[in-house]
Amino acid sequence: MNRRLTRVDELKRDIPPGRDLWPAISAAIEADKAAAATPPVAARRRAAWLPVAGMAAAVGLVAIGVLIGLSFAPQVDTPPVANTPTYGSPEMMPAAYRNQRDALLIEVQAKLSSMPEVERKKVASSLATLRRSIDEIEAALGRDPANALLQELFVSSCQEEMRALTAVRDSGSQET
C-alpha cells in the first residue's frame, strides 16, 4: 500500500532488515566476552594495536607510499616464466614512461599529504586498487605473455593509472 504523506518525517523510521542479524552479532559478542576473559597478556596485545596518533602521523607519508605501491627504486618483479622478460617489467617499459611516472608519483605524494584524511584515504585506496590491478594483470602475463587480451588490459591499465595520478596531481589547481 502506497501511503500519501504530507511531511518528510512521516516516512517510516523503522525498516527491519531483510534477515535476522542477531546471530552474527551474538557470535561477535561471545567472542568479545571470551577475549575479555583471557589473561592480561591478551589485553597487552590488544593495547599494542591501539592507534597512536603521533606515530601514525609520523609514518603517514610512508604509509601512503606503501598503500599506493609507490616505489622510486626499480620495481622488483616476480621471476618470469622461463627466461622471457615479464611484460611490464622495467626492461620492457619504455624509459620515458618510467621517468614520467616516477616524477608524477612524487607530485601525487605531496598532493595526497595535503588532503583531508578521509579524502586522502579514499583516493589512496583507489590508486592502490589500480596498482593492484596492474600487478594482477602483470602476474597473469608472466604466465601467458602472448595473451593479447592481457596485453591490451595491461597497456590500458597503465594509461588509466597515469590518468588517475595526473587527475590527483592537478586536482584543486584552480583553488583560491
Binding site: 500519501r4 518528510v8 516516512l11 523503522d14 527491519p16 542479524l21 552479532i25 561477535a28
Partner: protein, 181 residues
Amino acid sequence: MKADKVVEFDVALVERARRGDAKAFERLYRDHVGRVHGLCLRMTRNPDLAADCVQDAFIKAWKALPKFEARASFSTWLHRIAVNTVLEKRRGPSNAEIAVEDPTAHEEPTMTFDTPVEEEELEAAIESLPQGARDALVLCGVYGYEQSEAASMLGIAVGTCKAQLHRARGLLRDRLERGVR
C-alpha cells in the same frame, strides 16, 4: 509505550548488558534494529551494505557500553555509532569520537507538503539525492535530529549541514516536480 517509559526500560536493559547480559543486549537490539537499519539503508542506498553497517554498529555498541552514560539517550548514542559506521565504510575510518550527549529539548523541524506525496515517490526522491544532502535530510528531516547534532554525527561543520539541508530541500523540490528518474 510512552517515551519516558521506553527510556526507563532502555536504562535497565543497558545496565544489565553492561554487566555482560547478552540477552538484555539482544532485547535492545530487537527494540532498536528497525530504526538503525532504516537510517543505514537510507544513507547507504544498499541493503547488503546497510545490513553490514547495522551488524557492525551493534557490535561496536556492545564494546562501547562501558563508555555510555546512563543519563543519555541510548537511541541517539546508538544512531551516532551507526552513522559513524556508515561513514567509515564509505571513506575509511573517520576521526569523529563517539560522544555522548543529553537529548536536546528543541522541537523537531518538519518539512511539509501542501499536496500529499506518495511515500514511494518521496523515498525514491530522497534516495536520488547526492550523498551529503541525503545524509543531512535523513538525519534532520526523517529522524528529527537537530542540525548541530546531525553535523556532529556526520563530522561536518554546522554551517555545512545547514547548507546541505538547504540543498536537499531544493533538490527534493526539483525532483518531486519532475518525477524522479
